[in-house]
């Protein structure tokens, strides 16, 4: 296997094709963790997971263990989950409340909840040793930058680089639509995420979110069988929520071509520009009235008429605005990905909305989900098949046009692989040794 650098790794992306090493090489994986996940803005968690001062939640940004914590100033901080002394993880439970400070369980070094060093036992042993002049002497290190967008917390590991606003740009319209669907204009996490382990590269999962040529094929076993069963039962109406959810997976190529795909700069994009497989769910009593009271009829209607399917936020999350869902594709290795699928409760909406989102989540995103079984089988077969030396390149030609410009927003045929090419364009863009120039002070 060749020895890669950020520069040579960029050559693995050619627009209409990518080299299989972007999925299978441990070296390329380390480079993308070191550069792409360092220079991009990566999802951390929701601030309702840490509602009170001292509340914390542990997760990863790329392969970096971090703690999201609410400090005494009520702001969310994201700290590397490591004691500056010996490296011990400060918190290993998924969530909890640490009070006014973190205390390392090994030697009792303690830190304020913004990471600053609070105290070290027998401190005089460090007098004149130079510890206080080192980075380790300052406390738990914080990530480069944190941004809380209406409850959704993102981090950039690099100290300098692209700003949050420039990185996401107009793509925030999908996240905003999801949040706007709450009459109170905010969401709250609705229980723990479903956690589903995949023996494949994280990018396969992200690409699949805007792959509209697979549902009617890979999901014929689940959605196709559901439709067949329903016909055998005599097509009874009204269809229960489970059928409303699963049947549209069998929509035709025509349907998916027509709903369109939009791409934004920096690797973001979504399916379902004009309608989506989520557009025909039954209305939930009381919901529209609550929306109307909050926003007025015209605005409420505009919010609910936007039925985007999957929005990919580069590098590694997908948001399903009509269902209040977010899936976090956490890379654990070149061939290992943990998927955490969250449901958020739209504050001020009837509980039935959240019930439907949980139904969707377990039907589609659980390790016990028949739709999930279909997908995982394809990813893991691909991960194994890519070890073949017969062909070295993975194809992304579908509706490819020479000289595609990903620096501008575009809307295209809904079966294009343009969004996948857009992700790889961003991947190459952020695969840089040095981040961009420092952003202006906010």
């Amino acid at each position: 296997m060749p020895s890669y650098t950020a520069e040579t790794a960029r050559a693995l992306v050619r627009g209409h094709q990518v080299h299989r090493d972007v999925y299978v090489s441990d070296e390329v994986y380390r480079l993308e963790m070191r550069h792409v996940f360092r220079n991009a803005w990566v999802f951390v968690g929701h601030d309702s997971q840490t509602p009170n001062k001292g509340d914390y939640f542990t997760t990863q940004v790329g392969d970096q263990p971090v703690i999201q914590v609410r400090h005494s100033d009520n702001e969310i901080y994201v700290l590397y989950n490591r004691c500056p002394h010996k490296g011990t993880k400060i918190a290993i439970d998924r969530q909890g409340n640490t009070g006014k400070f973190f205390r390392c369980p090994y030697h009792a070094w303690s830190f304020k909840t913004n990471g600053c060093l609070l105290a070290i036992p027998l401190k005089k042993g460090y007098e004149g040793t130079g510890l206080s002049e080192t980075e380790n002497g300052q406390g738990m290190k914080a990530v480069g930058a944190v941004h809380n967008h209406r409850g959704f917390v993102f981090a950039r590991l690099a100290e300098t680089g692209i700003s949050f606003e420039e990185f996401f740009g107009d793509s925030l319209s999908s996240l905003d639509n999801m949040i706007d669907r709450a009459p109170a204009g905010r969401m709250e996490v609705a229980g723990p995420p479903l956690r589903y382990m995949h023996q494949c590269n994280w990018k396969m999962l992200v690409e699949n979110q805007t792959d509209t040529c697979h549902p009617m094929v890979a999901h014929e076993s689940s959605a196709g069988t559901a439709v067949k069963l329903w016909v055998e039962m005599g097509n009874p109406e009204p269809r229960p929520p489970a059928m409303q959810i699963i049947a549209p997976f069998m929509s035709s190529y025509d349907f998916f071509e027509n709903i369109g795909i939009r791409t934004w700069p920096n690797g973001h994009g979504h399916t379902g520009v004009k309608g989506s497989i989520h557009a025909d769910y039954e209305a939930i009593p009381g919901y529209f009235d609550a929306m109307k009271d909050a926003y007025g009829e015209a605005r409420a209607k505009a919010i609910l008429d936007e039925n985007r399917h999957n929005t990919v936020y580069f590098p590694n999350i997908m948001v399903k605005a009509p269902l209040g869902q977010l899936r976090n594709f956490i890379p654990l290795g070149a061939n290992k990905t943990l998927v955490e699928s969250y449901v958020y409760r739209p504050v001020g909406a009837p509980d039935e909305l959240t019930t439907r989102s949980h139904l969707y989540n377990r039907m589609i995103n659980a390790p016990t989900s028949i739709v999930g079984h279909d997908d995982l089988e394809m990813y893991e077969r691909a991960q194994e098949g890519l070890m073949s030396d017969g062909l070295e390149w993975v194809d992304l030609h579908r509706l490819y046009e020479e000289g595609e410009d990903f620096s501008v927003e575009a809307v295209d045929n809904g079966t294009t692989e343009r969004q996948m090419r857009n992700q790889f364009d961003a991947w190459a863009k952020f695969m840089q040794d040095t981040p961009g120039p420092a952003e202006a002070a906010e």
Binding site: R94, A190, G191, P192, P193, L194, R195, Y196, M197, H198, Q199, A218, E220, S221, S222, G224, T225, A226, K228, L229, P240, A242, M243, L338, S341, V343, D351, T354, T355, H358, L359, N361, R362, M363, A366, P367, T368, I370, G372, H373, D374, L376, E377, M378
Partner: protein
């Protein structure tokens, strides 16, 4: 039978496990009351299936779909097929109420599922709510709690 004995309840739990191990899924479906739910919570000691996600909360249609899918022509995740094995402890009869026609058992088990080179072991408890219909026991509801419900799993394709 007009009233099941405690042994009848216990034998029923063993027979159900054997049906699943033998892959007799149509027979297994016939054990269910039409309104019954198969619930596998996501959270430890989860209170209800609606306020948080679950692994399963399958009604009769979803159970039938699951069974149909296992043998459908283009079910690629079942080529080759998975197999399972239940090792169960003698069930406790937690509630024995012939007057209400309601019987509840609590069963610890080790569930093994395998396909190709992979095999996984799940420790779990199953709570069965049983009822007697036309002289035969039926599953009114079933709840399965995984000991490691908070762990991340790969595919679990068959049913404990």
């Amino acid at each position: 039978m007009s009233t099941p004995t405690r042994d009848d309840l216990i034998d029923f739990i063993y027979a159900e496990a054997r049906m699943l191990d033998d892959g007799r899924f149509e027979d297994w479906l016939a054990l269910w009351m039409p309104e019954g739910h198969y619930w596998m919570p996501l959270e430890w000691q989860q209170k209800d299936p609606h306020s948080a996600s679950s692994y399963l909360y399958e009604d009769n249609f979803m159970l039938r779909l699951r069974v149909e899918r296992l043998s459908a022509e283009r079910t690629f995740s079942q080529k080759p097929k998975s197999r399972c094995n239940h090792v169960i402890q003698r069930p406790f009869v937690d509630e024995y109420d012939p007057d209400a026609n309601r019987y509840i058992t609590h069963t610890s088990m080790h569930y093994v599922e395998t396909r190709l080179d992979e095999q996984q072991l799940l420790a779990l408890t199953a709570r069965h709510e049983l009822t007697l219909v036309d002289g035969a026991l039926r599953i009114a509801n079933k709840r399965v709690d995984l000991l490691n419900c908070d762990a991340a799993f790969g595919n679990i394709q068959l049913l404990p």
